[in-house]
């Protein structure tokens, strides 16, 4: 029954998101595309982070760095006059790959709090690099004179939104398959007991690294979309606060659940905006709300819908 409920809620949310362009068109309100586009982009990044944080137990506080890499690829290439959208996307993926491998390799030598801090350190390094890149705007960022070129679709907000939604759905589906695969089994196992994984003859490190790189790529794609949504890139996109916010989204949605990050991203951003409408001092409400949610829900928004047994799975069987 709980399963039906989850399917129902997830489908409703997805149908809602798919209906947004239709509404925008009918009501002639393009802004909803911008608004929900931002939520989708964060949801996509959160799905990426969830892969390492939720399934692999690697709490990275540096994933905003990959959002920034994806976004800056668009910014830098288009400021150099290279406009092809496919080029932007593939360069973003390749750059991220080249950077995520050594960064991940070094960071994965550590665990727990040290991992949180070393990923933060790398993100800060990149943050400062982009802050000091004067030719690309430094800390004041870079306005895109031109968005990624996709022929007639270029800059069309409907097209950006729709492709973002499609990317999100594909990623969601891939991640859902991945965690149940042989790779996923190893990944989930390392979250709880890497020693055991090694002892059965699977060297856990390559799997953790692969997951790390994969999640970095997802965040880079999210960054690619954010650049196109905003027409602007800036180092603020890769500040540690964004990484922290992503982490909050994943935790709020429910770690290690497939749909959790979407619930978390939408939840956080929508609640924030809702509260802002009600009071100027919205953090006075949001803060305690988050606290209560942790105390009351334990497994996050999505986890709330999970059956007991799945909850126990998430918490590693502890009570």
């Amino acid at each position: 029954m709980a399963r039906d409920l989850r399917t129902f809620v997830a489908t409703s949310i997805l149908i809602f998101l798919a209906a947004v362009p239709l509404y925008a068109w009918l009501a002639d309100d393009v802004y909803v595309l911008t608004y929900f586009g931002r939520i989708l982009a964060f949801a996509l990044a959160a799905i990426g982070l969830n892969l390492v944080l939720g399934f692999g137990g690697m709490a990275s506080l540096g994933h905003a760095m990959y959002i920034g890499l994806g976004a800056y690829t668009v910014g830098i290439l288009s400021s150099l006059g290279l406009l092809s959208g496919w080029l932007h996307l593939s360069v973003a993926l390749v750059t991220t790959f080249i950077i995520a491998i050594p960064v991940g390799w070094v960071a994965l030598r550590t665990r727990g709090m040290a991992f949180i801090m070393i990923t933060l350190a790398f993100a800060q390094l990149f943050f400062y690099v982009f802050v000091s890149l004067r030719q690309f705007g430094g800390d004041e960022g870079l306005s895109l004179t031109q968005l990624s070129d996709f022929g007639v679709l270029t800059g069309n907000k409907y097209a950006v939104y729709t492709s973002l939604l499609v990317a999100l759905l594909i990623t969601l589906w891939l991640v859902a398959r991945l965690v149940d695969s042989r790779f996923g089994l190893v990944l989930r196992a390392t979250r709880f007991n890497a020693r055991r994984v090694n002892a059965v003859g699977t060297s856990s490190q390559p799997y953790r690294l692969a997951a790390y790189v994969l999640s970095a790529e997802i965040c880079a794609v999210a960054g690619y979309f954010m650049a196109n949504l905003n027409g602007f890139v800036s180092p603020a996109m890769m500040s540690w606060l964004v990484s922290a916010e992503l982490m909050v989204m994943v935790l709020l949605g429910g770690m290690g659940t497939i749909f959790g990050p979407i619930a978390g991203a939408a939840g956080l951003l929508l609640i924030e905006d809702g509260l802002k409408l009600m009071t100027e001092h919205w953090p006075l409400v949001l803060g305690p709300l988050v606290l209560l949610m942790v105390l009351g829900l334990r497994q996050g928004l999505w986890g709330m819908l999970l059956p007991e047994r799945e909850k126990a799975r998430q918490s590693g069987g502890q009570h």
Binding site: Y31, E140, T145, M226, N230, F232, S234, M237, K276
Partner: protein
Amino acid sequence: QMKVGFMATLSGPAAALGQDMYDGFMLGLEQSGGKLGGVEVEVIREDDQLKPDLAVQTVNRFIERDQVDVVAGITFSNVMMAVANPLAESGTVFVGMNAGPAPLAGERCAPNFFFVGYQNDQQAEGVGKYATDKGYNNVYLMAPNYQAGKDAVGGFKRYYKGGIAGEVYTRVNQPDYSAEIAQLQAANPDAVYVFYPGGMGINFIKQFRQAGLLGKIPLLSVSSFDGSTLPALKETALGAISGSFWGADFDNPANKKFIETFEAKYGRIPSQYAAQAYDGALLLDAALKKIGGKYQDKDALKKALREVDFGSVRGAFKFNKNGFPIHDMYVFEVAPDSKGRISHKTLQKTLPNHPDSYVGKCPL
């Protein structure tokens, strides 16, 4: 009813500036009876949280959904740069009330942009001129390592003709300056020029004073020891020099009325940020009056904004062709005011009728 979308940084550590802007703007609005040029006004207040991406989204909302007639506010340059494109493209009238980054004065100037504050470099230029006039020949320069800091140093150097004892860029939001202060002391300069907005300025001057240097070495500054930080500094900053285009002690009727009403309403001395935003309200009011409240006519409104004389609290005010002001630069000393509160005392006018340095690059 006319709609004004007001966006500023209203939360986070830098919220004090945005709040001052908002208070100043609303005060100006209130004084004309909640109307601008006789038109009923609805102000939509938004917080950009100092997040460029959120700012872009909000401005998009102003334009696409709310269909505001005027966008106003904007505290920080990086937010300004992020929203410049959508604003310029939409053609919506924009009245900037603090941030005035160089590219928007130069090559990316736009006909619908009106910066009622100042161009970022202008105040620094005034202080540079002051240092030259004083005959300093060995000044030590310090600023945080970001664009605004580099602009502040660049602006200073543009009008400063003497030698440079040292040029140091510190980390953004650095808490401790003891090492830099020791280094500075060793360089034995004629004067120190700093740009440390907000908390950084407080950290710096407290430590500068504890090292026994305040009063010994002249301390020149912009945007550091201003109305937003003086209440937290009080006598700690006595004697520091800062450059601006406006001071609370200006003796003109508009300013007197502003100071009086602001103090009565909010119980504090207004800062430059409040003054600029207040000016923004006066500007809009005057321009709309001129066109008889026909705010729907965008081109007429732009024309009126460009030409109208609105009686700025800073005295003389004129828009340049790039939408940035031509106005007088002054330097001030931190000193007690007539009521014994620590405030700014006008020392001298340094650059009269001063245009910004980028207008030449503006294609308009």
